[in-house]
């Protein structure tokens, strides 16, 4: 019987010949992740349960990113707990401010994830690493505590829904639009408990950044994981990671068998997808960006684990170069990592954005969860390249978030209302 790539990875990690959807297995964890919100609870549970050593410090990653650089005294205390735990147990992958960034950007970028890996994380967007053909999923703090002690996780093998994207996306249509469109189609629980497998010509053409964006938002469709097949683009990306890293030296490539069993196959015409925006208060509430030109905005955020990579910042800069942010709008850029920050400062991206009137932040989750670095007041409206637009997600419960790609975010920052790049370049007489 054929197997999906997800079933093959789980079988490998569980030390089994094959697994079937629905079956429960105990799988070895190649990497377990937690952040400054979820790690403190997991550490308390680990210690209360009487564990005194971690099974393998090299397979644990701790990333303080939500409220760092430390936002206030309380969060400073939380981060301190995580730091001290990392020191005590010899956890080298503790990422300190100044050498860090958003967990889901830095784990793959630092080469910690290899294809065929099984990764769990006490953060719902852990599904991001499917872009490098790994299985990764979000769990709770107890799962993370158990993985630290035991090196394993229990998993119910998910069924897979295959999404096949035909054709070529048009101008200014990127991974974000393919994914928002998909979530709009299937709904926020359309893939509940299931793995989302992305395939088709449009995915083959999609750069690795776009693949990260798509896998990252699998959870917004209720998915357990997202995954893209391994190809030349995956190899190129992995080979560009640090010398000696897992990305370059480890891993195993799996592919879905042609006769693999899918819960459903969804065919999508990528050529028909336009730059897409999700209106408040659900990521499935999608419409073409151009239909929202009457929505005035107060703030634009470009960043997050969804769209905080170099390509995302470059797309925003492409639109903003030589133009100015609208007087009534605040544009905030949150690069995903130190590596992204540095690259953007070297290639002129940062300069173009700052000259246009953007505030350029140090890497952090910050505004994405209404934590700091750009919280919204009551009645304010933002366009953000982030992943959730729930009530109060970026600040006051009476603020609103519209989710979009970096091109649309940048164009909206110039226009003062939701706009596509074509709308702002035409207004200036064409460029």
């Amino acid at each position: 019987m054929g197997q999906t790539v997800t079933e093959k990875i789980i079988a490998r990690a569980a030390g089994l010949e094959a697994v079937r959807a629905g079956e429960i297995v105990e799988a070895r964890v190649d990497l377990a992740l937690a952040n400054d919100v979820t790690a403190p609870l997991a550490i308390a549970e680990f210690e209360d349960a009487g564990f005194d050593k971690v099974s393998d410090p090299a397979r644990i990653v701790l990333v303080p990113d939500h409220f760092t650089p430390n936002k206030d005294i309380k969060t400073a205390g939380q981060v301190k707990k995580v730091r001290e735990f990392a020191r005590k147990h010899g956890i080298a992958h503790f990422f300190e401010t100044g050498r860090a960034g958003i967990e889901h950007v830095i784990l793959p970028d630092m080469g910690l994830v290899a294809p065929g890996d099984l990764v769990i994380g006490a953060d719902s967007h852990t599904c991001t690493y499917g872009a490098v053909a790994a299985f990764s999923t979000g769990v709770g703090s107890t799962d993370f505590a158990a993985a630290m002690a035991w090196g394993r996780v229990w998993l119910r093998v998910p069924q897979t829904i295959k999404f096949v994207y035909h054709g070529r996306p048009g101008r200014h249509v990127v991974g974000k639009d393919l994914m928002l469109h998909t979530i709009g189609m299937v709904g926020v629980d359309g893939a509940l408990y299931k793995a989302m497998e992305f395939a088709g010509e449009a995915i083959e053409d999609l750069p690795i950044d776009g693949r990260f964006t798509m896998c990252n938002m699998a959870i917004e469709a209720g998915g357990k994981s997202g995954i893209v097949g391994f190809d030349k683009k995956t190899t190129q990306y992995l080979q560009s990671r640090p010398v000696g890293s897992r990305a370059r030296t480890a891993g195993q490539v799996f592919a879905s068998d042609p006769e693999a069993e899918y819960a459903q196959v969804v065919e999508i015409d990528a050529g028909a997808i336009r730059p897409t925006v999700a209106k408040p208060h659900l990521p499935s509430n999608t419409v073409p960006a151009e239909d929202l030109a009457d929505v005035r905005i107060d703030q634009v955020v470009v960043g997050s684990c969804t769209n905080g990579r170099l390509a995302d910042l470059q797309q925003a800069a492409e639109v903003l170069k030589g133009r100015a942010v609208h007087p009534d709008v605040r544009l905030i850029i949150l690069p995903g990592s130190q590596e992204v920050f540095l690259a953007a400062s070297r290639d002129g991206t940062m300069q173009a954005l700052v000259e246009a009137g953007a505030a350029f932040s140090t890497p952090t989750c910050g505004a994405c969860l209404g934590g700091h670095m750009g919280v919204l007041a009551a009645g304010e409206r933002a366009v953000a390249t982030t992943n959730r637009n729930f009530v109060g997600r970026m600040g006051d419960p009476e603020s609103e978030v519209y989710l979009a790609n970096p091109y649309v975010a940048a164009a909206s920052a110039i226009a003062g209302h939701i706009a596509t790049p074509d709308m702002v370049t035409t207004a200036k007489g064409g460029a």
Binding site: E23, F51, G138, A146, A149
Partner: protein, 167 residues
């Protein structure tokens, strides 16, 4: 593993915020959390609930944040198990991991009424409404889940496993 108790009934999409409001997340103490369980959806719940009682709810029980305080609060309030039409994915994990028995049964979730006396064999998946005399079949727990529940949650289970490996 069977439980018998009086039913507290809720609708669909009971989220983790109403199970235990965010304002009480400054503690991990189960007894303290139990005092505020279901406060924002059913303020009388804590006064009414008796040890062993059972929650019956609609689809997507436990949706929202991944906070583990939610299953912990329910269990500490004295609830023996939760029967629902479906559970949100991370709540489902967290319930087993923190030792709260849960059963998926859309049919029972629809028909059982508040105040009914119900007997639930969570392991075998047998639900009996003693008030109406009706019985319902849910999926039996796979062996792994049986062990998890019998151990009292994931960390005690892991401890046992590690001790076995050393022996």
């Amino acid at each position: 593993m069977a439980f018998e108790g009086t039913v507290h009934k809720y609708g669909r999409d009971v989220d983790t915020d109403v199970i235990i409001p965010a304002r009480y997340l400054n503690t991990n103490d189960p007894a303290e959390l139990a005092r505020h369980c279901m406060e924002d959806i059913d303020p009388g719940f804590v006064a009414r609930v008796r040890p062993g009682d059972i929650i019956v709810a609609g689809e997507n029980f436990g949706c929202g944040s991944s906070r583990e305080h939610a299953p912990v609060a329910i269990r500490a309030a004295g609830v023996s198990c939760v029967v629902a039409a479906s559970f949100a994915r991370i709540f489902y994990r967290n319930a087993f991991n923190t030792g709260l028995p849960i059963v998926v049964c859309p049919h029972a979730a629809r028909e059982i009424e508040a105040g009914d006396r119900v007997r639930v064999d969570v392991v075998e998946g047998r639900i009996e409404d003693l008030t109406t005399g009706k019985t319902y079949a849910a999926e039996a727990y796979p062996p792994f889940m049986r062990e998890l529940v019998a151990s009292g949650g994931l960390l005690p289970y892991v401890k046992k496993r590690l001790a076995e490996d050393e022996a």
